[in-house]
Symmetry: C2
């Protein structure tokens, strides 16, 4: 049994998208699981009633049994600074939603709201595993084969070599627990295969990763290898980079496919053919990214999340809870600290 | 009248591709211009004779009048370290070809050989403009509109904020002289529109660029803006980033389009439709990138360059010579140094 707290006020399409996402998720989750919609009670209640009177009429009984509303007076806006989450708005849906977990009343939190605020509030309320200085966000990059775990994708812009090693550990547990990869292989993003290629931090990280225990390090991976999810040495599951590079790449990737489809449209390719290919590249099918390194489960969704994306984020939250990912991350970091003490 | 020295031994398909590229270029260049093929005389002569006896039979008279062979004993291999160019192989086609320019016997040098060696040899033989610490390589990114000038794309991995400002000056002159852009607009690649977003170097560069005279700075540009060649503030001609980010992006871009076309092929899109769109994204149509910051003209081609790519690189070389780009760069840097002295 797991209880998912969902920020009903977070995202560009709140509260409609989170409420619809919760109802869609309910259709796929086992009956033992429940969802708490966190937000201004009268607003959330009205939206839920509206949807249950319309599109989701068949869900009335299920919603009555498994969806509850947890009131939160305030809302963190997209334009608020991250620190607002902690100091300025203790009664916001984000803080109230995360506190449910800290108080033992929920097992996970999901939000499409202000990402910086969610990171700050998650770090403050859930706290970090030992050995982690800041949480990381991983993104799944579509490839010709399986999606690639890329982290950090924007939470940490100036990273030390040690932080890149932490990302390798966090990403490996994520790939194993959420994506089911066995002994995930890790590549270090650089500008050449050779250990001596890269900027100063990457060159140092290469040596640390090579010496690190418990990481299936496969050497450097280049930009050209990402769409193949493989370097010359073989398949790669996890790609490690600083959050500046990761964020630039992610945003570029999100926009280059639409550009190419636009060009193709001028060459007689039909909308149906494009949408077929687009489904392979659909970010909404992933839904949410667990904030890695916190003690608990905090799932970050894109601000533009559709009901389908929110639904998938709730399913990711469930998988994160059921696989016990957070505990596994704590164990991996603790083993790493011990092996460093010995050596 | 301009004389282009072309490295006949450089690139994966040498000497066939450079020789064919020279003959293709001759068909498009004014009769006053000539090409010097630099390499082992007997090898280059045999290849030239072979092509003039076959595919290029109609070019015999033109080749006799306007193509000469400059002998060079040695070849810099793709696996050689850059320093080899200067110390180890003074009789290589690359060093001999660049010396022609230093000695007043050629106006430009073009090579598809070892890029690191070409940078080192160009810096050593042609020397750098005052105010430049290392040369930069700019790449043209295809977009929905006009190509975007992105620099640095791999020559400088750890950059200072001042170097990013230099890139803005170099890229602006390149965009004006070679691409014909008027008052080129410059964007700083970052992870958000706001001045306070980015890593430490980028945040400092933002302030320097904002204060710099002679640069049409339009603020930050994000990864998602690149395919549009525009930030929220308007169109962008030049994007500035360090060579690590630039190289990762460039290689990713080169491989993501083929991936998408591969996916589309599975959805019934025909080879003809794809090749129509591919022509829009064809890197061979650009051909070569001038090494920016050297006193003279050194055009860098991809190692895989086809005859068409080499031909286009020779045309870029001609444009670089005729527009007087190197002198304009010197003037721009000198004006910048004066305005800094004043302020």
């Amino acid at each position: 049994m797991a209880r998912i707290a969902l920020d009903a006020m977070g995202g560009d399409h709140a509260p409609a998208a989170p409420v619809a996402g919760a109802l869609l998720a309910l259709q796929e989750l086992d009956a033992a699981h429940s969802i708490q919609l966190v937000g201004r009670e009268e607003v959330v209640r009205a939206e839920l009633d509206r949807q249950l009177a319309g599109e989701f009429a068949s869900m009335r009984d299920a919603a009555a049994a498994r969806i509850s509303i947890v009131h939160a007076d305030d809302v963190i806006e997209m334009t608020d600074k991250p620190s607002v989450a902690i100091r300025g708005k203790p009664k916001s849906s984000m803080v109230v939603g995360l506190r449910l977990q800290a108080d033992g009343n929920a097992e996970a939190f999901v939000s499409a709201g202000n990402t910086g605020a969610q990171m700050a509030a998650s770090t403050f309320i859930l706290r970090l595993h030992d050995g982690i200085t800041r949480p990381a966000i991983s993104t799944l990059f579509p490839t010709v084969k399986n999606p690639l775990v890329v982290l950090d994708s924007g939470a940490n812009v100036d990273c030390s070599a040690q932080e890149l090693v932490s990302f390798a550990r966090l990403g490996s547990v994520y790939a194993a627990d959420i994506l089911g990869r066995t002994n995930p292989s890790v590549g270090l993003l650089s500008i050449g295969e050779e250990a001596e290629k890269g900027n100063a931090v990457v060159k140092e990280a290469h040596q640390l990763l090579r010496a690190a225990e418990g990481i299936n390090f496969q050497g450097n991976i280049e930009g050209r290898d990402l769409p193949m999810a493989a370097s010359e040495r073989g398949p790669i599951d996890v790609v490690v980079c600083d959050g500046f590079v990761g964020n630039v790449l992610l945003k570029f990737y999100e926009s280059v496919a639409p550009m190419i489809f636009g060009i193709l449209g001028k060459h007689g390719v039909t909308r149906e053919q494009i949408s077929g290919a687009l489904s392979h590249l659909d970010y909404a099918s992933v839904g949410g990214a667990p904030l890695l390194g916190v003690k608990g489960v905090s799932i970050i969704c894109h601000g533009k999340s559709s009901p389908k994306a929110i639904k998938n984020a709730v399913l990711v939250a469930m998988k994160t809870v059921e696989s016990n990912m957070s505990a596994h991350i704590g164990q991996a970091l603790s083993r790493a600290a011990k092996s460093e003490d010995v050596s």
